[in-house]
Symmetry: C2
Subunit: 331 residues, 2 copies
């Protein structure tokens, strides 16, 4: 095994979030699936944007959010993802670099523009996401820096990006590179609809032992395993995946690894402002602890602390000093 240059390298969507508060009535009027993520085309994005109130733009993308958390905690990180050569692409690249994360995937010329996610946030803090994938879905396998992937302790992959064809090929190749280099592969299922479309791929990867660390939420676990019961779902995977992390929103999270099971309650939050990025930041906290070889329960606790920070404000990139927050909460 070569030296570990990065703690985590991630491949994910390069997205700028466009976020605005909205009423529950507007969610109904627009016939959006509250709390979910839907893909929209350019026209769909335009008409939803027209219906949206005054917004703010904050860099997003699931795996990129996770790296922002990891980097803020002190991990060395690199990101691979596709932006277009446009203003939103510059915004995404700036924010990744400013977070101390290496990112050198060249911007793509011409149409489509950089991906954006239109996020409607209801008064209960729930986010409803509508993603226009734009340039992000054209990440080519040729954009992979294989040496970089081989030099990272963990390769982190975002299920969302399994949907478009080119990045899927790129991720398959990345898994090969990482495994050949003796590295770990972590995977987040991202969203039930992704599993509905690509569950066979994911189950094959799992059965072949290609996934070392798997992040799912309750409904993704059920969709992936076909088991409606949470514990039955975990039981179906635990002999195939070395580390399983299952988040349960306000009910905390469970991890199963090497026959051991640990769980944590959700960290209390004064006010849930915006749940965007809760899962992404849970993964950040957990992976940080895992990379340091910490006990399962500590890893979960770190995840619950970073998730609590992210849902206390707008946007899926951390605002608090995560190192200081961790020191305060973990003691």
């Amino acid at each position: 095994m070569t030296d570990t240059r990065y703690d985590v390298i991630a491949i994910g969507n390069a997205i700028v979030d466009v976020m605005a508060p909205c009423s529950d009535e507007l969610i109904e009027e627009l016939q959006l699936a509250k709390g979910g993520m839907s893909l929209v085309d350019a026209d769909g994005a335009t008409s939803l944007y027209d219906a949206m109130g005054p917004a703010r733009e904050i860099s997003g993308g699931s795996a990129a959010n996770t790296l922002a958390g990891l980097s803020a905690l002190g991990a060395n990180c690199a990101f691979i993802g596709q932006v277009a050569n446009d203003q939103l692409g510059e915004v995404f690249a700036h924010d990744i670099h400013a977070g101390g994360i290496d990112f050198d995937t060249p911007a793509r010329e011409g149409e489509p523009p950089t991906a954006r996610c239109l996020i409607f946030v209801t008064p209960d803090g729930e986010r409803t996401m509508n993603t226009f994938l734009g340039a992000s879905q054209f990440l080519p396998p040729a954009a992979l820096n294989e040496e970089l992937i081989a030099s990272a302790g963990i390769l982190y992959l975002e299920g969302y990006l399994w949907d478009p064809e080119e990045p899927r090929k790129a991720m398959r190749r990345a898994i090969e590179v990482a495994r050949n280099a003796g590295r770990k592969v972590a995977f987040t299922a991202s969203e039930s609809f992704v599993i509905e479309r690509h569950g066979d791929d994911f189950r094959a990867l799992i059965n072949e032992g290609q996934i070392d660390i798997l992040f799912v939420n309750e409904s993704e676990l059920a969709t992936l395993t076909g088991e409606a019961d949470f514990d039955a779902g975990l039981a179906a995977l635990q002999d195939k995946v070395p580390v399983i992390v299952a988040t349960r929103s306000a009910d905390g999270a469970v991890a199963v690894a090497g026959g051991e099971r640990a769980q944590v309650a959700a960290q209390p939050v004064a006010e849930v402002v915006d749940t965007t990025g809760a899962g992404d930041l849970f993964a950040a906290g957990f992976l940080y602890g895992h990379a340091k070889g910490e006990p399962l329960e500590t890893c979960l606790k770190r995840g619950s602390i970073t998730a609590a920070e992210i849902i206390s404000h707008y946007g899926a990139r951390p605002e608090a000093d995560l190192k200081a927050l961790m020191a305060e909460k973990l003691g």
Copy 2:
């Protein structure tokens, strides 16, 4: 006088704010004038952006912020300003429209891009602004819809926009149109450096009786009048400007009109998060009351309430329901 279609029409910079927290050390290292506004060219903007932490983008522009407040309070508003035909221009136009404000200045093709303001926010909540004016400085007099200007009760002008030549011509023409239609002209001095460059123009407008309502802060008042003493500054203007509103940050604000003087203390704020837009939103609250013909002290109180809202969060566009807030605070 024709019917009043708008309560307020404003001409201002069309800017997207790019905002990030920063340390006092970084302000020193970058040799920025803390609390001020500086103009930067494209290269200057790039190098400052490189030095900035992960940021968020929120529409800004002084007069546009004021309209966002006015519209949220229930006033009918229109905006005139120049964006480029690019993504940040779309963001600006979206946010103005979504705020219920009419805006139909055509986007400008080609370079330069839409204006942006790089805002560094220190832990004390003070903002240090660095504006790349881009397309905004090319607002041509031909872009004025004179019928619209003549149909608005108040024409509101932003001193910042006096600096570039084309918008200055456009504003001079707009003043003519408004006055010929028997409308009021309101003017915000914006920033001392603008007065240093164009004080002669401003003093001439004031002496000619072209300005009905003038917004200044303490240092702008001193620069404009040459009087270091606050009261002497007010005295120098009070026979020439029908309504003078002078804000004094944490010390509240004073208004002088028709021989009457009123003042308010600053509204208490739990935490000053970001002072960007404090003056803009003070103007919004004041103008709303003034357009309704309310007593001077009530107008000031409205201004202090909207200013307090804006400094309690990031960004210069209101987040709270201003109508509800006003009802609660004014009783």
